[in-house]
């Protein structure tokens, strides 16, 4: 796959590589070396809330950005075809795919796990095989993740729910902050290439990096069955969603939410673009049919779908929760909705009996 | 070029784009009159005829700027002379407010103006429009500092 859509780029293939030590004062030199490679180098910018082109200097690696790194592989909006009408009204279609290599320095491990979630749907094993635009971006992206230290974890983080601290997701390199510098851990061929330009201290003994810090886990044992069993529990869903404002903040900052919309934009009468852009299951118009019928017309129904998608449907399809516990939705919510409250409300409900679940969901 | 649609940013232009929304019942006729009376009129004005200045949703003006206009002029009937009795009274409030909003976003005062020109004021139209286009040419093409 990789060589078909993007010949000549290093692969995502995992590698076993030695850890190396980068002195703290060499970080900027490494960034300069990464920036000198073909393509863009992005770093986190908390002011902008996202990843922006590196313009020199120390990157701001304290705390994660408001939005996740998913936009690198699944941009907020992306033209995937352009069309042009000729004088006879016949249309020519040009598929469009981005082809600029991107190195992203300073994503979090939750970002890296989030992209693994999106890989399920947009990758080769997704419902329609590899999505070309996604695959090209994904294969051209090198992710340098920074392991969290205790100072980076806050009360909104709950990533320990979804796996051990040494789960590095799709990171190509992990950088562990340690005394006096960083331990550099290449994980893939692309990561090896990125690490190769780091001015590491070859003579230094490489300290054993501590495990990345994690946010407190919540209990989700058996949630999939409980969610399905209590699908029709209107009181439960109305209760936990009553203050939701039905905006898209949680979905748009989420590292795993991938829903998109498709729209044509005419650039004058003869030509234009067809683009896809982020969409949110929180919006009332998201599932509204042309006839006016909306299977998820109420807030409670929409949020039920959101939680179910993350904790029941995705695990059913891919054996993987579509939540990484980064807490971005929790921090972003303008109405203090906390997905952990919902999960816990569901978990407080009784587990289904053997036939109980089915009895309740029968049409 | 701040706050201009991406697909328009690639267009490089030397001369400013100037758009005028003219009321069908007065200023549009006034412009016509100016033409038939051979009054001098700038050639680079793009005229859009509207049924009434009161119809002008100010989003039309914002969108015109978004699509790359460097100056927008709105001209309707003199207050009290609206073909629909009160359209321009409503327009006046909105246009005056918009005039204050636009500089907030770095769109210079003077890039947007509104005025009243009747169907018989061909000469006045010629003066208004010459003055306005001159002003926009002085301000030049919108670009970032």
């Amino acid at each position: 796959m990789a060589d078909q859509v993007s010949a000549g780029v290093p692969h995502n293939t995992p590698v076993e590589a030695e850890l190396t030590f980068l002195a703290a004062d060499k970080l900027v030199a490494w960034l300069a070396a990464l920036a000198a490679r073909e393509g863009d180098l992005l770093v986190p910018d908390r002011q902008a809330g996202t990843f922006v082109p590196w313009t020199g200097g120390e990157p701001d690696l304290a705390k994660m950005t408001a939005t996740s790194a998913k936009g690198i592989v699944l941009p907020q909006h992306e033209t995937f075809l352009s069309y042009a009408y000729d004088d006879d009204g016949k249309v020519a279609v040009t598929p469009r795919v981005a082809d600029t290599p991107t190195t992203v320095f300073g994503i979090r491990l939750c970002d890296a796990r989030g992209i693994r979630c999106i890989d399920q749907t947009f990758g080769e094993n997704g419902p329609s095989g590899a999505d070309p635009n996604y695959t090209v971006r994904r294969n051209l992206a090198t992710f340098v993740a920074v392991a969290c230290t205790p100072a980076d974890v806050d009360a909104a983080c709950f990533c320990a729910t979804f796996g051990p601290a040494d789960d590095f997701g799709v990171a190509d390199v992990v950088v562990h902050p340690v005394d006096g510098g960083y331990v550099v851990r290449p994980l893939t061929e692309k990561g090896l290439a990125a690490a190769a330009v780091a001015p590491v201290d070859t003579g230094a003994t490489v300290p054993e990096p501590p495990l990345p810090s994690q946010g407190t886990a919540i209990d989700i044992e058996g949630i999939e069955q409980k969610l399905l069993a209590h699908f029709d529990d209107d009181e439960l869903w109305s209760d936990v969603t009553e203050h939701c404002l039905s905006c898209g903040a949680c979905s748009f900052v989420c590292p795993t939410c991938y829903c998109f919309s498709i729209a044509d934009e005419a650039r004058g009468s003869e030509c234009g673009d067809r683009l896809r852009s982020w969409d949110s299951c929180g919006f009332a118009c998201y599932s509204k049919e042309a006839s006016g019928h909306n299977p998820r017309g109420r807030n409670a129904q929409r949020f039920r779908n959101r939680v179910n998608h993350k904790f029941a449907y995705y695990p059913e399809l891919y054996n993987l929760e579509s939540c990484v516990g980064c807490g971005r939705c929790v921090r972003a919510c303008p109405a203090a909705v906390d997905i952990r409250d919902m999960v816990e409300a569901v978990m407080r409900r009784p587990a289904p009996t053997k036939d109980g679940a089915k009895a309740e969901v029968t049409a | 070029m701040p706050l201009i649609a991406e697909h328009k940013k690639t267009h490089t232009k030397e001369k400013p784009t100037i758009v005028a929304f003219l009321c069908n019942w007065c200023s549009y006729a006034g412009a016509d009159m100016a033409g038939t009376s051979r009054f001098k009129q700038p050639a680079d004005l793009r005229i859009i005829r509207v049924p009434c200045s009161g119809r002008l949703d100010w989003l039309l003006i914002a969108k015109t700027f978004k699509e790359g206009a460097d100056g927008v002029l709105v001209s309707g009937c003199h207050p009290g002379d609206c073909h629909y009795t009160e359209g321009n009274f409503h327009a006046r409030r909105k246009l005056e407010a918009l005039k204050r909003y636009l500089p907030l976003f770095g769109i210079e005062e003077g890039r947007f103006e509104y005025t009243w020109v009747s169907a018989s004021e061909g000469k006045r139209w010629s003066e208004v429009v010459s003055g306005f286009t001159e002003q926009i040419h002085e301000l030049g093409v919108r670009k970032a500092g």
Partner: protein, 282 residues
Amino acid sequence: MTDTVTMTPGQAARAKLIPQVGTVSEVVPEALDIVSVRVQLPEMPDFEPGQVGQLGIFGVGEATFVISSPPHERGYVQFTVARVGEVTRAIHDLTPGDSVGVRAPLGKGFPYRDWYGKDIVIAAGGIGMAPLRPLLLTLLEERDKFGALKLIYGAREPELLSYGADRAVWATLDGVDYVETIDREYPGWTGRLGMVPPVLEEEAPSAVNAIGITCGPPIMIKYTLPVFEKLGFKPEQVVTTLERRMKCGIGICGRCNIGHKYVCVDGPVFTLAELNELPDEL
């Protein structure tokens, strides 16, 4: 941030969001605010009755419609389109020769080959006939492989019954027991009166070795499914085809899910038994 370039042909072929550019060959008025659009495509796709496709007009957008022509009618694919929104309005304005974008087929069709040897009962309402027309025409094409064939087709008023030419044929055909009904009395209508669910109940087709299929407005489906059950049809014997808002049609944009199933790839055809396994979110 990044430039965009043309994909290689290999990439484009895999790009399931990229439509074929087709040419409209015919626009047939079917009913009030309903037309069928026939499109010729550079590469005619193979499809099954019940499958859907995306029909779009560049600059306006695309939307999902069921393919309303049967697979054995080669040379074009037909979509039947009710005028409800911006895209469908533009589709109604199409004339022969116009360029359109088509992505088809999408989803799964009716598993009619599994039904060889069985009686077939079809209950359709309004524009819900669109997915059932290609099914019926396919069944008629292979008529000897099936038992009794019954079609009940109803609408609110006569002007809302589609496929006039087909209906005229079905009414006289020996191979199919065709029942046409209008919800309530209507000036000039001398035929049968009654909504589809009660008419189905009156007709009382046998459930023995039979398959019941229904499509129509959500409310009609809701009341028809229990009638099939009442007549003795088991959930495995009842088939319906669902409407859901779709964008991508290939299972990745998110919005058409019912539980973990995506109507655009896992459907739109489902048996009642399959639906019973899913959350109740129609």
